[in-house]
Structure formats: C-alpha cells, structure tokens
C-alpha cells in the first residue's frame, strides 16, 4: 500500500493507506472473471452511482469500482482476491443506506461488493420466519408475501427502498412490534475476511430444522458480531416475521406544547416496559408532514431556523401538535381492547390536544400513510430531500437516551438551541425501544447551497460533543462520523476499541474488509493513521 494524504475538510481521515492503482486494476480483473464482465462496474458513471448521495463531500468516499456477485461461493472467491491483492472492499446489501453513506465506502478507492443480485427468499409460513439473501428489498419481500397470500407482516423503515438484511445489519427501525429490526435476526451465513464460510446458531448443524427458530445454538452466539461491524460478509440471514394480527387499533395523539414531550414519554414508557404497548412508538415533531408534502419556500423566504410563526402556520395547516405519536396495539380482539382501555386512560390523563382513534381488521384497506404501522413499504417520506426545493437529503444524528421524560426534555432543549444557533430546521423523533429510546434527528441538507453545507459538519460535531457530555452516544452513524461516534465509547481508555481491533486483526489480518466501518480500523491503517 502506498500512503495518500487525505485533504478532507473533516480531517479525521488524515492519512490513510490507499491501494496502488495497479493492484486495484489486477484485483478488479480477477473479480470480473469470477462474477462475469457484466457484473463488474468501473466507469466514472459507476463510481458516481456508488458514491454517497446525501453527502457532505461525496468525493471523499468515491469507490474505485463495484462488483455484483450472485452467490456465497462468488463472495468467497472475491474476498480471497481482495486478500491476495491487498485491496479494500466495502460490502453493501442493496446500497440504499441513504443518510448513512448510501453505497459509499469509508475509504475512497475501495471496491464495493454489491450483493443486490443475491435475492433468494425462503419463507417458513408455519413458523413465521424467512431466510433471506441480502439483495432482497422490503418491496421484494412484501410482494412475495402478498402475491402468495401469506399472512405474515414485515416491519419496514421510513424509507423502504433498501435491503431487509442490510437494514437489520445497521440496526434500522420500524414501527410495529417487530420494529427493532436487528432483534428479528435469527441465524446467519457469513463469509469471513479470509474467505471461509460459517453458519451461526443452529445453522452450524447442517441438518438443523431450527436455524431460524433458536437464536443462539450452543456456546457463544455470534450474530451480533456481524452487525455494524467489518468482521464478515453476511450472505444469508434468518428473520422473524410477524403473524398477521386479528386487529390493529390505537390512537394518533397530538400534544400541543414543546414542554409536553417529557410527560408524553413518561406516559408511554411504563406501558412499553410493561408490555401493554409492544410496538416501537415514535414521537415526532410538527415538521414531519411539512417537509414531505411541501417545500420551504411555501412557508418562508427567511434563512435560519423556521420561526415560531412559521411553525404555528405549519401546525395549523396539518392539524398537528408540537409533538405527535401514533400508538398501536396488535393482536387478538379481546386482548387488544383491554390494552386499548388502559392506554386511553393513561393518555387522557395528560390532556392531549387531539386523540384520533385508529382501527384495522383483515380485509380493510391500508392507507399508504398508515403503512408504516402495518409493515407496508413506503418511499414517500424521502420527499423531504426536496425541502429546500432542489438537491437535498439528510444525515442522521441519533443518540441513545433513556425513557426518562425529564432527561429527554433536557436533551431536546439543548439540541433545539443548537438547531437555532446553526440555522437548521428541526426534524427529530424519539423512538422507543423496550427499555431505551433513540433520539433520531434527520438533519435536512441543501446540497445546492455551499454556505448552508459549510454549517452542517460543525453542527453535527457539536451535537455529538453535547450528547457525549451527558453520556449519550449514537446507535448508528454516517460514514463521515463513524470514527467520531466510536470515540465516544471510551470506557477504560478505549477498551472496546482495543477489543474490536484485536478481533479485527485476528479475523482480517490482511485488513481488506470495510476498513473504518464503525470506527474499526485494521492494523495496517492504524499504523498509517498514527504516522
């Protein structure tokens, strides 16, 4: 490897080794021989297509090429070629991780392994599980189930263009009782960075009928080792699906005031922990309809954060509170009704601005705007990329909080002040897990305005630093911020980083697989970065 000085503005990738052009050419030629010439892509247009589409600086992460294998055997062969030529590879399932880097690698000049042509689906209807290859998108799986009238539901993220497996491997979120997607994983097939192939859990027994039923097998359970990591390439994964419920009922709740966030959280939290609520409710602010259905110019021509007057106008037009949440209860009629009564009583006690009942039974149409709570894939929320009227996008900032209303309100107050300081429009949600809460901010970008874009990086770094002071780290990060986020997890002089590095060096001594992913760098890069 030769040394290249990265002159990026962000500056945290100061000096990285990059593969020689000759090694890349040779590796790509060998890879093309494995996948076929029509599955190796290295034109300038291809490189652009695999770059980040919601970037701060797309050029920083432009890959050298992409190859698209169709089988685990091909993936193994490609990995061995990468090792032989010492070239970095970056795996994507479908490459649609918008807001987190899209298909682009941390290290520019990497070869992208695009698994989108691996599309096998094996559903076990009786046990409500599916064994998937990474190229299967949410729409593919949804269509597969619907066209066969299989009464199993997905949980889908707000933009469902991407891969079911890829999303679960990045710990993506949905809104149903199966909304914490990484928890649905049960059993994997993984190609290791030396080309070996392993099956986890019960899959380690070749004839096991319970690979997708029991998550652990015997001895250490490895599935989470391959989530948000660069320790292996997942070529198959089992996912649990939700049996279609007898009914779904609930309330769309609006709360009037900014300071209603805390009481709303303190009302939902205990019900979630107790199990009265089993979904992953997401509290969103007043902005969630306007940035999808309108552009900023329809409201104001003033720069800076949207004013209180504009916020009032937006709320009035869409009938929204400062905060809103859609609460849903799923299951048998009698159980749902009992839980709904408890939920309604708790909600009435905090005096919502409005509380609209929701009810669905099999056979009822599902409005696309309600699809998120029913596992129906959607893309329309991504219309927010046009909020500024031209090219846009978003970058996530998503610290892990507790379910304390007081602490969340304080976190909101600090964050909202920063949005105003940096002149950003506030878009955020508070997404419940079973015990924790994720404060998912989607910072909207205006790619046509260089002055605006200059503020984005300092804004995100400020948010990350503020959160860190209070012990809040992010659950997921854009490729530009993986190092910074990993830095926050520094107990005992970065013991976690040292552990990750030791595992990385053992599994991937050549340091070829996704260097820098989640802040985990192989030995060769660590040496270079210190130099």
């Amino acid at each position: 490897m030769r040394r290249r000085v990265n002159t990026s503005k962000a500056g945290h990738l100061d000096a990285l080794p990059s593969p020689s052009p000759a090694a890349l050419d040779q590796a790509l030629k060998a890879m093309a021989a494995v996948v076929g010439g029509d599955a190796a892509f290295a034109t300038e247009e291809d490189r652009d297509a695999y770059s980040d589409h919601f970037p701060i600086d797309a050029h920083r992460h432009r890959p050298f090429a992409a190859v698209a294998p169709t089988s685990a055997e091909q993936v193994q062969a490609l990995v061995r070629i990468a090792v032989a030529h010492r070239v970095p590879i970056w795996t994507v399932s479908r490459g649609k991780n918008l807001g987190y880097g899209t298909a682009a690698p941390v290290v520019a000049g990497s070869i992208v392994l695009d698994l989108s042509r691996m599309q096998k689906i094996e559903v076990d209807v009786e046990n409500a599980t599916v064994l998937l290859e990474p190229g299967v998108g949410f729409y593919d799986l949804y269509d597969y189930l619907q066209s066969r009238k299989i009464p199993l539901w997905l949980s889908v993220p707000g933009n469902s263009w991407g891969s079911v497996i890829g999303n679960a491997l990045d710990r993506g979120l949905g809104y149903t009782p199966y909304g914490e997607h990484t928890r649905n994983i049960c059993g994997m097939e993984v190609v290791l960075p030396d080309g070996d192939r392993v099956r986890t859990g019960m899959g380690a027994m070749p004839n096991s009928p319970s690979w997708q039923l029991h998550k652990y097998g015997y001895g250490p359970a490895w599935d989470q080792l391959f989530v948000q990591s660069n320790f292996g390439i997942v070529t198959k994964a089992g996912m649990w699906l939700m049996p279609q419920p007898e009914t779904v009922r609930g309330f769309d709740v609006e709360m009037d005031r900014m300071e209603d966030l805390g009481p709303l959280i303190d009302t939902i939290g205990p019900l979630r922990r107790e199990g009265v609520l089993q979904q992953s409710p997401t509290i969103g602010n007043w902005f969630r309809a306007a940035n999808i259905l309108t552009t900023r110019r329809q409201w104001t021509d003033q720069p800076g954060s949207l004013s209180d007057e504009v916020i009032s106008a937006i709320r009035k037009q869409f009938g929204l509170g400062w905060w809103g949440v859609s609460l849903r209860v799923y299951g048998r009629e009698t159980v749902v009704q009992a839980n709904l009564d408890i939920l309604e009583k708790a909600l009435r006690a905090i005096k919502p601005m409005s509380m609209k009942p929701f009810s669905w039974r099999p056979g009822d149409a599902i409005a696309p705007t309600a699809g998120g709570w029913m596992g129906v894939p959607m893309t329309f929320p991504m219309q927010s990329a046009n909020w500024f009227g031209g090219r846009g996008g978003h970058i996530g900032f998503s610290p892990v909080l507790t379910q304390s209303g007081k602490l969340a309100q304080e976190q909101f107050n600090r964050t909202y002040a920063r949005y105003k300081q940096f002149g950003m429009d506030y878009q955020a949600s508070f997404a419940f897990g079973e015990r924790h809460m994720l404060n998912v901010n989607a910072v909207l970008l205006n790619l046509d305005d260089p002055e605006f874009m200059k503020r984005v990086d300092p804004f995100l770094r400020t948010l990350i630093a503020d959160a860190r002071q209070h012990g809040y780290g992010e659950y997921r990060a854009h490729i530009d911020y993986m190092d910074l986020v990993a830095d926050c997890y520094d107990y005992n002089h970065h013991a976690l980083r040292r552990l990750n590095q030791r595992v990385k060096d053992v599994l991937d001594p050549a340091g070829i697989l996704a260097p820098g992913k989640s802040g985990i760098w192989p030995a060769a890069y660590r040496k270079e970065r210190k130099a």
Binding site: A66, G95, D143, P368, P377, N386, R391
Partner: protein, 104 residues
C-alpha cells in the same frame, strides 16, 4: 397536496415479478414503481413540477428511451443514480422502451 394524498389511498404496491423473463412493464413495477408508482417519492416530487395526473411515469407521453436511460443512470435532482447491479443495462433498455412507448 390533497390530490396526492387521495391518490395515495388507492394504491396497490407493485406486484412481484414471477415470469422467468420479465418484460418492460414488469421490470418497471419491480424496479421503479416503489418511487414512480402512485404514492412513491418520485411521483410526489414530479407532481410539484408538472400536472399531477402525469406525474407517474407510466402516464407520460413525452419520454424518450434515451432520456429514461440517462435519467436513471445519472439521477435527476432528488433521484439517486440507479446502479447497473440493481438494474442491468438490458433491463433498463426494456424499462425505457416501455416508458417511452416506442420513442427511441
């Protein structure tokens, strides 16, 4: 906006491609309709720039095959480029022919 929402209420999600060799329409439904069907992101954003009734690509009569292919590969405004792994050149040619209704 209201029109968009009403349209949205009536929408079937794309049907799975089951034929061995899908045609242009099937490929469009499988590869494009999630955004360019009735409630997709692409349709919603195009409705800001043209009459909403022609915002779904299948309703257009002014698309040439060459334009469709270029637009898909380089992306337009908020549309990301479509990689050749996702939609091969041969598949894109079939989709473009379908959407252009025969115009080259």
């Amino acid at each position: 906006m209201r029109r968009l929402l009403l349209l949205a209420l009536a929408l079937p999600v794309s049907v799975a491609v089951q034929a061995a060799e899908p045609d242009g329409q099937q490929l469009f439904e499988h590869k494009c309709a999630m955004c360019h069907g009735p409630v997709g992101m692409g349709t919603g954003l195009l409705a800001r720039r043209m009459k909403p009734e022609v915002a779904p690509l299948e309703k257009r009569d002014d698309l040439s095959a060459a334009y469709v292919e270029r637009a898909a590969r380089i992306g337009i405004l908020n549309m990301p480029p479509i990689t050749r792994a996702d939609v091969s050149d041969a598949q894109l040619a079939l989709i473009a022919r379908y959407l252009s209704k025969g115009k080259p």
